[in-house]
């Protein structure tokens, strides 16, 4: 069964969104709840491995446009000099490392897609290292994110070719915002509101990969969208309610996506993809 955000909130009731999602997944697939959690745990470990391979300073993509940048970002973090501080800084470094691992044809976990695969692991893994979140809590947070992702995929889209980058990085930031709100003790309603705030901030984002490659601007948007997720979670945890019903924000994303011209939906024709300087660099690298 597929659920809207408001249905997930009702399903969780007084309990947690994570438990509702685990129970639902077990019922749907006939697996035990323990087996469902074990699969997510192995996905979490795969996320950790992707970060490690993405932090390698020697990493380069076939096009030469990506690789080695997360290592630079990590160095500044380790020097304690990132303007956004240690927790968000680490989340963004890890988001970039994962996105670079992906660009270099490494092994990653789609969350919800490969193009946006850095945002959720960045947020969750940074919370584990900087905020004493246990592996079990992290696994639960990934289920909260998955539940939100399901509401988005079934009511709007998670494909850049259909809905633009708002459907990829926007969806991932929504999922991560709900997961962060959950980890900080937010109610199911607050998780839904956090998802909506993140999506609201990324509404209209176009999918404009240079040369059609999942590199520029994708790698950098994973970093920025991770920041949006923390901001959205912080707003709801401060007691701010989303003034629009969260599901309506998802439907708005679908409408905006439908209105985007094909040139801004993963065809590599408009936006950043049309910029001469980076296209020239891509050509030079190819020679």
């Amino acid at each position: 069964m597929d659920f809207t955000l408001s249905e997930w909130v009702n399903l969780a009731g007084e309990g947690s969104l994570a438990d509702a999602a685990v129970k639902q997944q077990a019922e749907e697939t006939g697996m035990t709840e323990e087996a469902v959690r074990a699969t997510m745990r192995s996905h979490l470990r795969c996320m950790q491995e992707a970060v490690q391979s993405g932090l390698n300073e020697k990493l380069r993509s076939v096009s030469g446009l990506s690789g080695g940048q997360a290592a630079l970002f990590l160095k500044r973090l380790q020097e304690g000099r990132l303007l956004c501080g240690r927790l968000l800084g680490k989340a963004e470094v890890y988001a970039m490392a994962t996105a670079e691992c992906n660009a270099c044809m490494g092994k990653i976990v789609a969350a919800p897609t490969a193009g946006a695969c850095g945002i959720l692991p960045g947020a969750i893994l940074a919370m584990m290292e900087e905020s004493d979140v246990t592996e079990e809590q992290a696994v639960n947070a990934l289920f909260v994110a998955a539940a939100v992702g399901q509401s988005i995929a079934t009511q709007a889209s998670i494909s850049g070719a259909e809905g633009g980058c708002q459907a990829e990085c926007g969806s991932a930031a929504s999922m991560a915002a709900a997961a962060l709100a959950y980890l900080e003790g937010g109610t199911p309603q607050q998780c839904a509101d956090a998802a909506a705030f993140a999506m609201m901030n990324l509404l209209g984002l176009v999918c404009d990969p240079v040369g059609g490659l999942v590199e520029v601007p994708c790698v950098y948007r994973n970093v920025g969208s991770c920041g949006v997720a923390f901001t959205a979670a912080d707003m709801v945890l401060s007691g701010i309610r989303c003034p629009i019903a969260p599901d309506e924000v998802l439907l708005a994303m679908k409408e905006v996506g439908d209105a985007l011209p094909a040139s801004l939906r993963e065809t590599g024709e408009g936006g950043c993809a049309a910029c001469a300087s980076v296209r020239a660099r891509l050509r030079a690298n190819a020679e």
């Binding site: 789609a110 889209s157 494909s159």
Partner: protein, 221 residues
């Protein structure tokens, strides 16, 4: 929708729709052909047509056609591996009216000369839909156990097939029936909760009016 379609699959980058979904389409076609592919014509439509090289969509489709899964590191080198194994592959750009932006048309020849044509779309997050099989419109994902029967349209064929499944206590989750016209080419696509024994599939193959029986096991990842 399975929650592990949202967090997952574990896959080789860089794109869930253009790499992982493409590999799944290739693998599904290979399973439907049910023998090694010796010749493949690959037609890319829409976004696939514009960006297939950069996303490794070509490598992913061919890797899938060679039997590789979405997390198989050999996907990166599949074009070379295909060449070494003697598989002839050609890529083309096609325009299919009304098709999903990430659609591919495959025309395959197997080692025994068996042929298969398929149109499939990668609909996001690595999920796929098969829209056309050997010229007939269909609609399935390969995510569930799927029984595909190609028959001549005649009274009683559907009852015989569903009866054989009932005899094994296998529950039908979804069922679609397609035909070109009355008494002509027809197809059944049946999604099942359980896998039928080989002898049941064999008995269906011997049934009059049934031309071909293919069983696709539930996709493991």
């Amino acid at each position: 929708m399975d929650l592990f379609d949202l967090i997952g699959p574990v896959m080789i980058g860089p794109s869930s729709s253009h790499t992982a979904g493409a590999a799944r389409i290739g693998l599904t076609a290979r399973l439907l052909l049910n023998e090694d592919v010796c010749k493949a014509e690959v037609g890319f439509h829409g976004s696939f047509a514009k960006t297939y090289r950069g996303h490794g969509t070509d490598r992913a489709i061919v890797g899938g056609l060679m039997g590789m899964a979405v997390d198989d590191p050999r996907l990166r080198d599949s074009l070379t591996l295909a060449q070494e194994s003697g598989m002839a592959v050609c890529f083309d750009v096609v325009n299919i009216r009304g098709a999903h932006p990430n659609t591919v048309r495959l025309t395959l020849t197997g080692t025994s000369g068996k042929e298969l044509t398929m149109e499939a779309a990668s609909v996001g997050g690595g999920n796929i839909e098969i829209h056309k099989l050997n010229g007939l419109n269909v609609d399935f994902t390969g995510k569930e156990h799927t029984l595909i029967i190609h028959q001549t349209d005649a009274p009683g064929v559907i009852a015989a097939v569903t009866g054989a499944l009932a005899g094994q206590s296998i529950n039908i989750a979804n069922m679609q029936v397609y035909r070109r016209k009355a008494g002509a080419d027809a197809m059944m696509v049946i999604e099942l909760d359980g896998a039928p024994e080989d002898y049941v599939l064999e008995s269906l193959r011997h049934m009059k009016a049934i031309r071909n029986v293919t069983f696709l096991k539930r996709r493991p990842c």
